[in-house]
C-alpha cells in the first residue's frame, strides 16, 4: 500500500483554511478569558474581518495555481480561487450586516463570528475538495455551522423553525448525497472525482448504479443550491433566518455549492449521458419557473428575494449545463463564476436593504413597507433600484452581463431552447423586481430606515451598488481575468 504523507507544500496550500480556523478561535477565546462576557461587538467584528482578510490574502497569494494538495483531496485552481474569493467576501460583508442586525448582534456575537468563519472554512473546503468525501465534510461543516447560526437568532419563533426545517431537510439531502457517494465508491472504486473523470464514460455505459450514484449526488447539490423540486426549504429558511444570515446563505453557500457542482459536472458525467443532461435542463426550466412565478405573489420582501434566489439558481444551472456539455468548459465556467459574483453582489445588497428596514429581531419587512422610501432616502432607494434592476438583468449592471455570459455559453453549445426559457423567465422576473421600485418611488408612505446609525449596512449597500455598475462596465476585463485562471 502506497502511503502519501502530506508535506509542507500541502500546508501552504491550505494556509487560507488554517488561518481562517485559527482566527475564528480568537473571539471565543477572548470571551473565555473575559469570563464568558462578550467583548464589544466591534472588536469581534474586527477580529473576524481580520481572519477573513488574512485568509483571503493567503488565498489570493497561493491559490489559483491549479495544484492539488493532500493526496489529490484538494485542488487549488481557478474555480477555487474565484469562488473562495466570492465566498470570503460575502462572509465579510455578511459579518458587517450581522454586526448591526438586531437578531444577530449583541449577546453571542463572538460565537456567531466563530461559526461564520468556520462555515466559511467549510465553504473553502467544499470548493477546493476533489474527493466526494471531503466534499461531504465541507458541506457538513458549512451546513451544520449554518443550522446553528440560524438557530442562535434572537428572534424566537421563526428562526427556530427555519433552523429545524433546514436541518432536517439538509440532513435528508446529505443522506441521499452520501448514498450516491456510496454507489460511486462501489462502482468506480474511488471517491476522488479526478480519478473518476477518466473512467466515467465507461462506467456510465456499464453500471446503472454509477449513474444512480451520479444522480443522487447531483440531487444533493440541487438541494444545496435550491433547484426545483429540491428548493422547498429555501423560502422558509431565508425568511426565518436572520437577514444577514439569509444573505450569507443566498450568496456564499450558493456560490461554493455551485462551484463544487460544476466541478462534479466537469468530470464528464453529463457529457456521457445525454439523459442526465436532459434532466438538468428540465430542472433548470422548472426552477426558473417556480422561482419566478412564486416570487410574483410574495408580499414579504425576504421571501420574494428567496424565490428570486431560486430562480437565479436556474439561470446559473444553464451555465453549468453549458459547461458540462462544452468541449471548452472554461468559457461557460467563467460565465457561471461571473454570474455567481454578480448574483452575490446584488443579493447581498438587496438583503442589506432588508436588514436596514428591520427595527427589531421580530420585524417582518413587506414590500409595501417601502412606500415613500425614495423621498426620505434617495441614495439608498437608488441603490436598491440598482440591485433590483441588476437582478432583473437590465444593462449595464453586472446582472445583465451575468445573464449575457451564461446565455452566450449556452447558445454556443446550441442550448437555444433553454436560453429561450431563460429569457422568458427573466421577463417574468421583471414584474416582481419592479414592484419594490414602484412602492419606493411611486407610492406615498412614511417608510424609513430602522435607525440612522446603521453605517456598516449602509456602507455595504452603497459599495455593492457601485460595484454592480463598475463591474458591469468592466465585465469584459473581468471575464478575461477569470477565464485565464481557469
Amino acid at each position: 500500500m502506497k502511503l502519501v504523507f502530506p508535506g509542507i507544500a500541502d500546508l501552504i496550500h491550505i494556509s487560507p483554511l488554517i488561518a481562517l480556523f485559527l482566527c475564528s478561535l480568537i473571539p471565543i477565546t477572548i470571551k473565555i478569558f473575559r469570563g464568558n462576557k462578550e467583548q464589544p461587538a466591534v472588536a469581534t467584528l474586527i477580529q473576524g474581518l481580520i481572519g477573513i482578510a488574512i485568509s483571503l490574502a493567503l488565498l489570493l497569494v497561493f491559490g489559483g495555481t491549479g495544484q492539488t494538495a493532500f493526496a489529490d483531496n484538494l485542488i487549488f485552481d481557478g474555480l477555487t480561487y474565484w469562488s473562495g474569493f466570492i465566498a470570503l467576501s460575502a462572509a465579510a460583508l455578511s459579518l458587517f450586516l450581522m454586526y448591526e442586525n438586531p437578531s444577530t448582534t449583541g449577546d453571542q456575537f463572538s460565537e456567531l463570528t466563530f461559526l461564520t468563519l468556520n462555515s466559511a472554512l467549510g465553504m473553502l473546503i467544499l470548493t477546493s475538495a476533489t474527493d466526494l468525501l471531503i466534499i461531504f465534510i465541507g458541506l457538513e461543516l458549512m451546513s451544520l455551522s449554518l443550522y446553528l447560526m440560524i438557530g442562535m437568532s434572537h428572534e424566537e419563533k421563526l428562526s427556530k423553525e427555519a433552523a429545524f426545517k433546514y436541518f432536517i431537510l439538509g440532513s435528508f439531502a446529505s443522506a441521499i448525497f452520501l448514498y450516491g457517494t456510496a454507489f460511486i465508491f462501489g462502482t468506480a472504486k474511488t471517491t476522488n472525482i479526478l480519478a473518476i473523470m477518466e473512467q466515467s464514460p465507461d462506467l456510465m455505459e456499464t453500471h446503472k448504479l454509477y449513474l444512480f450514484g451520479i444522480v443522487l449526488i447531483m440531487l444533493g447539490y440541487c438541494f444545496k443550491v435550491s433547484l426545483a423540486p429540491f428548493h422547498a426549504w429555501t423560502p422558509d429558511v431565508y425568511q426565518g433566518a436572520p437577514t444577514p444570515i439569509s444573505a450569507y446563505m443566498a450568496t456564499a453557500i450558493k456560490c461554493v455549492s455551485f462551484t463544487s457542482f460544476l466541478r462534479v459536472v466537469l468530470t464528464g458525467s453529463v457529457i456521457s449521458s445525454v439523459h442526465l443532461f436532459d434532466i438538468l435542463q428540465w430542472i433548470a426550466v422548472i426552477t426558473m419557473l417556480v422561482g419566478n412565478t412564486a416570487a410574483i405573489i410574495q408580499g414579504n420582501l425576504k421571501r420574494m428575494l428567496a424565490y428570486s434566489s431560486i430562480a437565479h439558481s436556474g439561470y446559473i444551472l444553464i451555465g453549468v449545463i453549458a459547461a458540462g456539455v462544452s468541449q471548452e468548459p472554461s468559457f461557460a465556467s467563467t460565465g457561471v463564476l461571473y454570474y455567481l459574483l454578480s448574483y452575490s453582489l446584488m443579493t447581498l445588497g438587496a438583503f442589506a436593504m432588508v436588514a436596514l428596514m428591520e427595527r427589531s429581531e421580530n420585524e417582518i419587512v413587506n414590500i409595501d413597507d417601502l412606500a415613500g422610501f425614495s423621498k426620505r432616502h434617495p441614495i439608498l432607494a437608488l441603490c436598491f433600484t440598482i440591485f433590483l434592476l441588476s437582478l432583473a438583468g437590465i444593462p449595464p449592471t453586472v446582472g445583465f452581463f451575468g445573464k449575457f455570459y451564461v446565455f452566450s455559453s449556452a447558445i454556443a453549445e446550441g442550448l437555444i431552447w433553454l436560453t429561450v426559457w431563460g429569457v422568458i423567465n427573466s421577463v417574468i422576473s421583471v414584474y416582481y423586481y419592479l414592484r419594490p421600485i414602484v412602492v419606493m418611488y411611486m407610492k406615498d408612505g412614511d417608510s424609513v430606515v430602522a435607525t440612522h446609525s446603521l453605517h456598516a449596512t449602509k456602507g455595504t449597500i452603497v459599495a455593492t451598488a457601485i460595484l454592480i455598475i463598475i463591474l458591469g462596465l468592466t465585465s469584459g476585463a473581468l471575464f478575461e481575468l477569470v477565464q485565464n485562471t481557469l
Binding site: 451544520l144 446553528l148 423553525e161 436541518f167 432536517i168 443522506a175 465508491f185
Partner: protein, 108 residues
Amino acid sequence: MLNTDFLTIIGLDHYLILSSILFSLGMIGVLMRRNVIVMLMSIELMLNAVNITFIAFSKFTANVDGHILVFFVMTIAAAEAAVGLALAVTIFKRFREVNIRFFEHLKG
C-alpha cells in the same frame, strides 16, 4: 425446480438490497413520522444504511477506503445528531411541541 441460490449464496446484492431497504425505511420515517425526534432517528437510520453499503462495497471490491468513509460518516452522523437534538430541544422549549405539523409558520 426452485432456484435457491438467492437464499443460500449471499453476495453483494444481498447487502446492498438490505441497505436500500433500511434506507427506504429511514426515508419513510422522515417523510411520515410526526415526532421530530423520531425523524432524527430515521435520518440516523438512513446513514446507517449508507454505511452498510460502504462496507459491503469495501468488502466485495477489496477496497479499504470504504472503512474510512464509514468512519467519517459516523462521526458526522454523530455531529448531526448532536446538532439536531440541540435544535429539537430549542424548538421544543419554544413551541412545547414535537409534532412536526406545528412548525408551519413559515409558508407561502
